[in-house]
């Protein structure tokens, strides 16, 4: 029924199956939307946050999706600025995933603030000294850049592309994409960093506080670095999951391997830097404020020292070692393990930098406080996942997201319906057939 919209040369599941899938994800989405409206209309009392846990699940989710969404800027940087041409096979998907992550992040922020209608104050009454202001500006601008990067892909839909204006618009946008990739990388450097800065500048919270250069604490650089290292892993992970769901290969191995290799090296250097940062913090900075490392990790079942070991060793060194070695990244099982660990590691890091900061008592007579999210928080956190699944499903069905798909999965003979249509298409369209998504 919708075959006229489906890219040429590729096969898609029947429409009913697609709708069923969208419907299932849609139910989860609606659940999240319901919770979102509850929070907007009834206020944040719908959450289990409290005066100790002013930052909680949402802010973690926000930081986590931004970190894993970092695959978009870093892949763009490698592809357009450093000329890693092989990545053209995956760049579209990286942009789409980034777009989903960043739109989700903005949505979460809109739910998270106590007075959503005043959200614009952050721009209007901006305090230039606040890391959060920097986050808000760079995040919004970068979301704009991602939208601009996503539009040419939409314009490549078979029917839209038939309109000469859109066809040329898409083509011209591709031409200047390097400019947007560079802008995106610049903006990402700052907002990823300032998200790290959000925690690092808290000099009243020894668990979070770090020294640094000028106004930027070390966490600023660590966040950018980890996003650049683990973002591409998330792109690979989602690609692999998509391949499993649709049951075919979508991206050529050499593209994945190249990205995995670069990620591996980034992850190794990041882990070393994180280790040095942790060492200095544990032996010099925290003791100067009267804390030992174990003060931050004891008295508490959830936030034990295991969290630090898991983050640095299991989710840092292990995936780095796998991804850096050709044998490791070529082995499908090892690759799965490595990218999953890397993604888990960066999410764990963001968790620690949000929730553990809130949990650790600073005054000597204060207590550890634990928190468990309410269903409204869980629902609104799952909402972006459902939204992402739907947007990926729609994009995959109707847009040439994977330029190599047709080549990797030849279909013959052509379905009758499509063959028929082909015969009436003007010749210009035939020329464009199987054109890679980013010409």
């Amino acid at each position: 029924m919708d075959s006229a919209l489906i890219p040429k040369g590729v096969k898609r599941c029947p429409l009913w199956q697609f709708l069923l899938f969208i419907g299932a994800a849609g139910i989860v989405l609606l659940w999240g939307v319901y919770a979102m409206f509850l929070c907007w209309f009834k206020g944040l009392n719908q959450t289990n946050m409290n005066d100790y846990y002013g930052f909680a699940l949402w802010i973690w989710a926000d930081l986590a999706v931004i970190a894993v969404g970092g695959g978009a800027f870093f892949t763009g940087l490698l592809r357009y600025i450093f000329g890693k041409d092989a990545l053209k096979n995956i760049i579209n998907y990286a942009v789409l995933i980034g777009f989903i992550c960043y739109s989700s992040a903005l949505l979460i922020l809109a739910i998270d603030i106590g007075q959503p209608l005043r959200g614009w104050f952050i721009f209007w009454h901006a305090n230039v000294h606040s890391m959060l202001t920097e986050v808000a500006f760079c995040l919004s601008c970068y979301f704009g850049v991602l939208t601009i990067e996503y539009i040419p892909l939409i314009l490549e839909n078979r029917q839209i592309d038939k309109v000469p204006f859109f066809h040329h618009l898409g083509h011209n946008m591709h031409e200047v994409m390097a400019v947007f990739a560079a802008t995106g990388a610049f903006l990402s450097f700052f907002h990823q960093g300032s998200l790290g800065g959000v925690a690092g500048v808290l000099f009243g919270r020894p668990f979070a506080f770090r020294e640094g250069i000028f106004i930027w604490p070390w966490t600023f650089f660590l966040f950018t670095w980890s996003a650049a290292a683990c973002g591409p892993c998330f792109t690979i992970l989602v690609t692999k999951i998509t391949e499993k769901v649709v049951g075919k290969k979508l991206v050529k191995d050499y593209a994945i391997e190249l990205l995995a290799k670069i990620s591996g090296w980034m992850l190794l250097t990041y882990t070393i830097a994180k280790f040095i940062d942790t060492w200095y913090w544990a032996t010099v900075l925290a003791p100067s404020q009267g804390f030992t490392l174990m003060d931050f990790y004891t008295n508490n079942p959830l936030y034990g020292i295991w969290i630090l070991i898991t983050e640095i060793a299991i989710c840092g060194l292990v995936p780095a070692a796998i991804l850096m070695t050709p044998k490791g990244r070529k082995n499908p099982v090892a690759l799965w393990i490595a990218i999953s660990l890397a993604v888990a590691g960066v999410c764990l890091n963001r968790w620690v930098m949000v929730l553990q900061i809130m949990a650790v008592p600073v005054m000597t007579f204060d207590n550890w406080v634990l928190y468990f999210p309410s269903w409204q928080e869980v629902a609104t956190t799952i909402l972006p996942v459902a939204y992402g699944v739907i947007l990926i499903a729609i994009s995959y069905r109707y847009l040439p997201v994977f330029p190599n798909e047709a080549e990797l999965n030849p279909i013959e003979p052509l379905p009758a319906e499509e063959a028929e249509e082909k015969s009436v298409d003007p010749p210009v369209d035939l020329e464009l057939e199987l054109k890679p998504a980013e010409a």
């Binding site: 409290n50 106590g114 005043r118 952050i122 606040s130 009243g204 100067s288 404020q289 005054m363 007579f365």
Partner: protein
């Protein structure tokens, strides 16, 4: 509240709380709530959701009977000055300048209609002096009539905290202005908690004015960001560099030590870390 920095000797209002005198009666908390229209709910059993601009903590020395000793510690907002004036933990992070540092009075303000409820300031404050309005205030029938007309009640979704009864400062200043006096008398501007304390444990005044009792009691050292020279005085979490304007007095060593974090076997307080 960014007043001009010229032609004026700035005040730095602060508090000295004598912990040896405090009995933990909680009068300061009650007075504060009444004075500042602090909202409350029917069920206030979850203290993590209660708004208490002034909160009295109970400290013990952790010893078994009969050596056990108890101390009550009232904790308002410390009106932190930071390492350079105005670099309070909370003011420096608020993205919308909804909380600001007054150079004229040294008081950290909270602008309720500007605050959009991101709660970053709460995360930054190590004293837990900031509270979020999880609900809209609902006053028991008839209580609206007893609210203070000088303090605006807060709406749901914004942060609030102790203001050192800033409205009292404004009223005192108005009066002095009408009477043609350039300076306030010490007793003209006093916070509600100071006046309510039956034990006289709280003293309030201008730390920059050597004639004021607070200066004499705490002896703040301007060369070391106001660190007290009085050996019995201390500030909470001195080493973090928040530079609070609330000083505590105690003759008991364990109480003074409870004011900050120390490594085991650490005797002397090291120089606080510097934050740019």
């Amino acid at each position: 509240m960014k007043e001009g920095r010229t032609h004026k000797k700035f005040q730095k209002f602060g508090m000295v709380i004598d912990l040896d005198k405090c009995t933990g009666c909680g009068s300061c908390m009650v007075a504060c709530m009444a004075e500042n229209n602090v909202p409350f709910r029917k069920d206030e059993s979850n203290k993590l959701l209660s708004i208490t601009w002034m909160r009295v903590y109970k400290l013990t020395n952790g010893m078994p009977f009969p050596k056990i000793d108890v101390c009550y510690l009232p904790r308002p907002c410390m009106q932190c000055e930071g390492q350079h004036e105005g670099h309070s933990p909370c003011v420096s992070v608020c993205p919308a300048i909804a909380t600001d540092y007054s150079m004229e009075s040294g008081i950290v303000s909270q602008i309720y209609t500007r605050c959009f409820g991101c709660r970053y300031c709460m995360a930054s404050c190590p004293y837990h002096a900031r509270y979020f309005n999880w609900w809209d205030p609902i006053w028991p029938d008839g209580m609206e009539k007893y609210l203070s007309p000088n303090v605006s009640p807060r709406m749901r979704g914004v942060v609030e905290k102790c203001s050192f009864c800033f409205h009292r400062y404004q009223l005192a200043k108005d009066r002095a202005f009408m009477e043609g006096r350039p300076e306030l008398q010490e007793d003209e501007y006093q916070t509600a908690c100071t006046q309510a304390c039956p034990a006289g444990a709280i003293t309030f005044g201008d730390l920059n004015n050597p004639k004021h009792t607070v200066s004499k009691m705490a002896e703040p050292d301007p060369k070391h960001s106001g660190r007290p020279k009085n050996p019995n005085a201390f500030r909470l979490l001195e080493r973090l560099g928040t530079n609070p304007k609330v000083y505590y007095l105690s003759s008991r060593e364990w109480v003074r030590r409870a004011g900050d974090n120390y490594l085991k076997n650490e005797k002397k307080v090291k120089k606080p870390v510097h934050h740019g």
